[in-house]
């Protein structure tokens, strides 16, 4: 490939759309990802791995006679791409006619991409030494704590991604975004009674990353608090979810309110639009337009503008999150959540309450603080949850000891109706996030 100017990918996308149309496609969509990544893993003070690379990939969709075919390639030579487009047009004939297929109409809305704060020019300028030193320092601070007996290592990584999207309805846009992150994994205790945990910070802007001290101290604290766990008897008790656990629960909820699982009927929330599915204290939003956040983007994978969508309002299910296809199947509107054939959360979060997490713990006479889960055990069709878990046991409002080798089980539908308290500690650490919450009762199985 010859050296190129900054409009090269836009022109490539546009020309392939035209090529597809000339060769008989009714509709064509081309998306290109141009990425650059750097990552360094250090362990016990030394570099383990250093990775640096740039790569590109292209995805395409063609529709002919309401029949759809997809293609993708990491080989961006024109010869390969034109072959793929032609072959997709031919292959589309093998699919069935699907009246719901097709691209979204062109939105008249313009995009103010800079105001979304997706790109940090600083990240490209960071020199390798500085990036390596950050990882080494983060781990070093943690290893200074004598309770830490081994390390999974610390990592620092950055990503720069340019996304280009063109379609035959006249959409042609591109934007750049950056990510950077530090993470650290630790072990405490002796070989046969080890405990482990990790902590991280992940942002779009380098100067917004939490400092190494903070990441290291939290990673240490999260690890050592699990030392000398006890087993408990099987019982039904109130359970407090720490923010990371609420985020995990919300990730499961997202799978259940995705328009795709609704039309496929693989969710327990089928036919629940407009109905009460949770307590009146429950508000959940998906917002693609929050400046600088991890899940923010101007438009989704099909070019539909992102928006702020009320998912659950005072316990009432207001919207399923849809791409264009799912929306047509359900006679709804796309919510700007497309990820190709699937859907993805933008910034999907539970609106925080006003109670400090400490007060939530003090309110617990006897119960569990859920700190980590392990395994699978989520069934969107029924909402059933069953997972291996780690926690802290609470009596009379005080943490008394850690517990392990337990499982928690319950049902998401019931949990949504039994959230008794909502914390004020939402930190938007990832694109799906929530504050501390207290659930009235779950089954905790142990001995």
């Amino acid at each position: 490939m010859k050296e190129e100017d900054s409009t090269y990918l836009k022109e490539l996308a546009e020309s392939l759309v035209a090529f597809g149309r000339v060769n008989g496609a009714d509709e064509v969509e081309i998306s290109i990802l141009d990425g650059y990544e750097f990552s360094v893993d250090v362990r016990l003070g030394k570099i383990e791995n250093l990775v640096e690379a740039g790569s590109r990939s292209l995805g395409l969709r063609v529709i002919k006679d309401k029949k759809t075919a997809f293609g993708s390639s990491s080989d961006l030579s024109r010869e390969t791409l034109q072959y793929l487009v032609k072959n997709a047009i031919k292959r589309a004939q093998l699919a069935s006619t699907d009246e719901f297929s097709g691209l979204p109409p062109l939105s008249p809305k313009g995009f103010n991409i800079p105001s979304l704060r997706l790109f940090d020019a600083e990240i490209a300028k960071l020199d390798s030494e500085k990036k390596i030193a950050l990882a080494i320092n983060t781990e070093k601070i943690a290893l200074n704590d004598k309770r830490i007996t081994n390390s999974h290592g610390a990592s620092f990584e950055t990503k720069e991604i340019k996304t280009t999207l063109a379609n035959s309805n006249g959409f042609l846009q591109e934007y750049e975004q950056t990510f950077c992150g530090i993470s650290l994994g630790l072990q405490a205790g002796e070989t046969d009674s080890r405990v482990e945990d990790y902590w991280f910070s992940s942002k779009r802007f380098f100067n917004e990353l939490e400092p190494p001290e903070e990441i290291a101290n939290i990673a240490v604290e999260r690890t050592v608090r699990q030392l000398k766990p006890r087993k408990i008897k099987t019982q039904n008790v109130p359970v407090i979810f720490e923010p990371m656990m609420t985020s995990w629960l919300l990730g499961f909820l997202f799978a259940c309110i995705s328009g795709v699982s609704i039309y496929q009927k693989t969710s327990f929330l089928v036919d629940k639009l407009g109905k009460r599915i949770g307590g009146s204290n429950l508000d959940i939003l998906d917002d693609g337009l929050m400046p600088g956040m991890l899940g923010t983007r101007p438009y989704d994978a099909e070019g539909v503008p992102c928006q702020k969508t009320q998912v659950i309002n005072k316990g009432i299910l207001k919207n399923y999150l849809c791409n264009t296809y799912a929306a047509r199947k359900l006679t709804l509107k796309s919510t700007g959540n497309s990820a190709g054939t699937g859907v993805t959360p933008n910034n999907f979060y539970l609106v925080p309450g006003s109670i400090p997490p400490k007060e939530i713990i003090s309110s617990l006479d006897k119960g569990l603080i859920l700190i980590r889960t392990l395994g699978h055990g989520l069934n969107p069709v029924t909402g059933d949850i069953s997972r291996g878990a780690y926690g802290l046991w609470v009596e009379n409002g005080e943490i008394v000891y850690p517990v392990s080798e337990i499982t928690i089980s319950g049902n998401l539908g019931e949990i949504l109706n039994n959230i008794e308290m909502i914390g004020n500690d939402l930190d938007m650490r990832s694109s799906v996030s929530g504050p501390t919450i207290k659930i009235k009762e779950l089954t905790v199985a142990g001995q």
């Binding site: 740039g54 390639s73 070989t191 395994g375």
Partner: protein, 476 residues
């Protein structure tokens, strides 16, 4: 320099051999012990059927190379999918930056290695079969599930075939190539009764040609299995909770071996002393009936390969013998640092990833008990039938999730049970294995294992097994 025969990377990659030699030299220009180029050209086809229509098809081409330099315990890695000499050179320099000894190391002249074995002979590459033929398989599975019972309301079937061409060259002079087919046909069926809804899954495939779906497992069987499971779950009760004897069904329960034992015997976790097994080589870690193998050479299995992703010819590896730990799964880096022989377990997801020690096809070998005898021996307990997956930590704590099982009462399977979780610490559970059946089976050829963000196809297996005591997480 010999010209490699069968799989010519020159055909797929259009890079002359002396170019690669040059790149290897550049990658060691700042020192380092070893360098390697992994070239990959991957093709796949995908078909999706839902809502009674062939909803879409997809075709994908992935082409790229990754360059790795080892220097002591350190790895430098660069990759690119742009094959201009400048870009490849840049990736080589990135990888080389891990070393700073400036002792120029010589690379050996590339010498093509041929091997005579083939663990995945197929009549015709699945990639080259017509789309029409593949679509007809999808439709057969779909209709078998859809028409199985009026309570089956939704079905989704997908077919995926993939061919991975790879060539590995390294500074020791190795030049070796392979082409790996991989096929998978999956069915999801949703059954409804009154307000209740349940889903069943089934699937099959492996490193096979599509003749597999006539000779080994038909699409009709896959469709019916998914439908049966969904219907069965409609009648299922909530699982019990607490500690109790657990009997694992043969085949599917191989997930236990994979999670409880396999991961923690991957050499990297032991070299770094994070695995609970790191100081237990030669020691008793399981009941003396237990033999555990990892075998990448089983014909047609998903987890099999003719060469691993570092170009090593793989070996069937004995991990646990009569309950004693005897082996680890090695890749090049760990084997070298631990001064152990290679086992051929260095695997990677694709050219963007560096290889790490991984499992292939992992299983507990057969024992001497008849399966009926094992079931009969339990008065009150839990029978784990189908597994969704599992997870383990280096500390040995693991869980696995069961999508369907049965209550065991007075030596008989009684009510079907849904969605349970088993949890334990591996060494406890391995010692609590009390009976091993004679009925070794392997789980479905649909498994994928994730480690450090890299997904690779695997298979696992086990016979019927009784565990004296294990925590079952349920709601009753």
């Amino acid at each position: 320099m010999k010209k490699p025969s069968s799989l010519l990377f020159e055909d797929h990659f259009n890079i002359p051999l002396d170019y690669l030699q040059k790149i290897l030299n550049i990658s060691l220009s700042r020192g380092g012990d070893f360098s390697e180029i992994f070239l990959e050209y991957k093709l796949y086809n995908f078909i999706n059927m839902e809502e009674d229509i062939i909803k879409e098809t997809a075709e994908s081409i992935s082409l790229g190379l990754g360059i790795r330099v080892l220097s002591g315990e350190k790895t430098g890695y660069g990759y690119t999918n742009n094959f201009s000499f400048e870009k490849i050179k840049k990736a080589a320099l990135t990888a080389s930056s891990i070393s700073s000894s400036h002792e120029r190391k010589k690379t050996s002249l590339l010498n093509s290695v041929q091997f005579s074995h083939n663990f995945y002979p197929v009549l015709k590459s699945p990639h080259k079969e017509s789309m029409e033929k593949k679509i007809s398989l999808v439709k057969k599975a779909y209709l078998s599930a859809r028409n199985f019972d009026p309570k089956i309301k939704k079905v989704k079937v997908s077919f995926l075939d993939q061919t991975q061409h790879l060539t590995i060259v390294n500074s020791e002079g190795l030049l070796i190539s392979d082409a790996r087919p991989l096929v998978r046909l999956d069915c999801l069926a949703v059954a409804e009764k009154e307000e209740k809804r349940e889903a069943g899954f089934s699937g099959g495939g492996g490193r096979v040609g599509i003749e597999y779906f006539s000779n080994t497992l038909t699409p009709e069987e896959i469709g019916q299995d998914a439908a049966k499971e969904a219907l069965n779950l409609l009648e299922a009760v909530l699982p019990p909770a607490g500690e109790m004897p657990v009997v694992l069904a043969p085949g599917h329960s191989g997930v236990l071996v994979h999670e409880a034992v396999g991961h923690l015997l991957e050499a990297d976790f032991n070299r770094k002393k994070t695995s609970i097994f790191w100081n237990k080589m030669g020691k008793k870690v399981a009941n003396c009936q237990v033999f555990i193998f990892d075998d990448p050479t089983i014909p047609h299995f998903r987890g099999s390969y003719n060469i691993d992703d570092e170009g090593t010819i793989p070996k069937k590896t004995l991990l646990i013998k009569k309950g004693k730990m005897t082996g680890l799964l090695q890749d090049r880096l760990s084997a070298k640092l631990m001064n152990k022989p290679l086992t051929g377990h260095g695997r990677r997801q694709d050219y963007t990833c560096m290889p790490i020690p991984r499992m292939s096809n992992t299983y507990i070998d057969r024992g001497e008990y008849a399966p009926e005898e094992i079931i009969k021996s339990v008065k009150k307990g839990f029978y784990a039938h189908k597994f969704q997956g599992g997870q383990v930590e280096d500390s040995g704590k693991f869980t696995f999730s069961i999508s369907s099982g049965y209550l065991l009462e007075n030596g008989r399977l009684t009510a079907p049970v849904k969605q349970a979780t088993l949890i334990g610490t591996n060494i406890n559970i391995l010692n609590n294995i009390k009976m091993i059946g004679s009925d070794l089976k392997f789980g479905p050829q649909t498994g994928t294992c994730g480690k450090e963000g890299q997904q690779v196809p695997v298979t696992d297996g086990c016979p019927t097994i009784k565990i004296a005591k294990m925590t079952v997480g349920g709601q009753k």
